[in-house]
Symmetry: C2
Subunit: 221 residues, 2 copies
């Protein structure tokens, strides 16, 4: 990870964890990113799935995909994009309105994505995306055919220029507010999975890879 002007955080340096492991943890824990591109000079931010291959490229690679007709995919290969992955871990309620905060882990990745044209890497990138959402899934589906691959753009974004920012722990009030009669603490937040629901036209048993994924995202302890 190479800190640049924009990834050397300008404020709250104590919240910046610049080691790669922190970046990988945020990416591997997440399911979706918000991808920012510039279209006609203005920002466009859209949610999208992603996949990760830590072994691909010098610093690892984030894979993105979309319809070849989508605006963000059309715009992206010619310009710098920003992919942001955020986990909201808790609402931080202080005694003062000012010190209210959020516990979170967030990764921001900048780069000019490479349009993946090699057929093997394209399939690899798509498998990484589907396996990121449900590990093992790519082995239990009909793989994309030539027509489907032609309809899909895959972008590879290097993890070289990236930063991670986190906040955790208790609320922090000013010394002079500690005696105020207001409750202070955390409301923890979690993303959890419900019971997998068969499609109406599917009477197969829920397979192990789907059950494992749902359990991994099970109710918080």
């Amino acid at each position: 990870m190479q800190p640049t002007a924009r990834t050397s955080l300008r404020r709250s340096k104590e919240r910046a964890a610049t080691d790669r492991q922190a970046l990988y943890d945020v990416l591997l824990d997440g399911m979706f990113c918000h991808l920012g591109v510039v279209v006609d000079g203005d920002p466009l931010v859209l949610p999208t799935a992603y996949g990760v291959d830590l072994e691909r490229g010098e610093d690892g690679t984030l894979y993105l995909h979309g319809s070849v007709a989508a605006r963000s995919m059309v715009a992206a290969p010619q310009q710098t994009v920003c992919a942001t992955v955020t986990h909201a871990d808790g609402l931080v309620l202080a005694r003062s309105a000012f010190h209210h905060s959020v516990n979170y882990r967030s990764a921001v990745i900048f780069g000019v994505p490479r349009l993946v044209t090699d057929p093997d890497e394209k399939l690899h990138g798509l498998n990484r995306i589907v396996d990121h959402l449900v590990p093992g899934r790519s082995l239990s589906v009909r793989p994309p055919n030539r027509k489907e691959l032609a309809k899909t753009s895959v972008l590879a974004l290097s993890l070289t220029e990236a930063s991670v920012k986190t906040r955790s722990g208790a609320a922090g009030d000013d010394e002079e507010d500690l005696g105020l009669p207001y409750w202070t603490g955390i409301i923890p937040l979690h993303v959890v999975a419900g019971e997998p629901e068969n499609n109406p036209d599917c009477d197969l048993l829920v397979p192990a890879h789907v059950r494992t994924r749902a359990n991994l995202l099970g109710a918080p302890s």
Copy 2:
């Protein structure tokens, strides 16, 4: 809501719900947005809290806040921003890799934010943000003082130029894949709250507004 070139969705028109109620529902259900701004020609996407006042302005107002020193706040008042709120409702697993999808509700708002300078509206905007995360909270805290207000920028973004996109329901495979021996269905996703945790230096009982908020975000039925 005024559909413009960028909010008249170019693809998947069947997923575009252009009525205001859908927009309000996504905003009122959400807790955080991803705010996109352009900095030195490149996109920057950061997560941030927001508040909503549907009565303020012709089409309602989204309030954002941040340190006066933060890049996104400094950049935003002079340019169009994009605020995106996303709910991920479920992983959609089809028999074919290609038809994998995500059930989601997403609102995208474009506009040039107005820097709020009127002290009453500034306090109002901040209260909307804290009450959006925990309804009633602004009445149970020490309000911001003059020094804290001076350190905080509040931006007002009109809800005029906005769009909502959603996907719900079962996976949709091609006719010729319906007989394939792969499980297909949904893994539902929910954001839930854990039990509120007192700060170590606070022995007050968890108040009703905090408990109500946590219960609202309780485990899925």
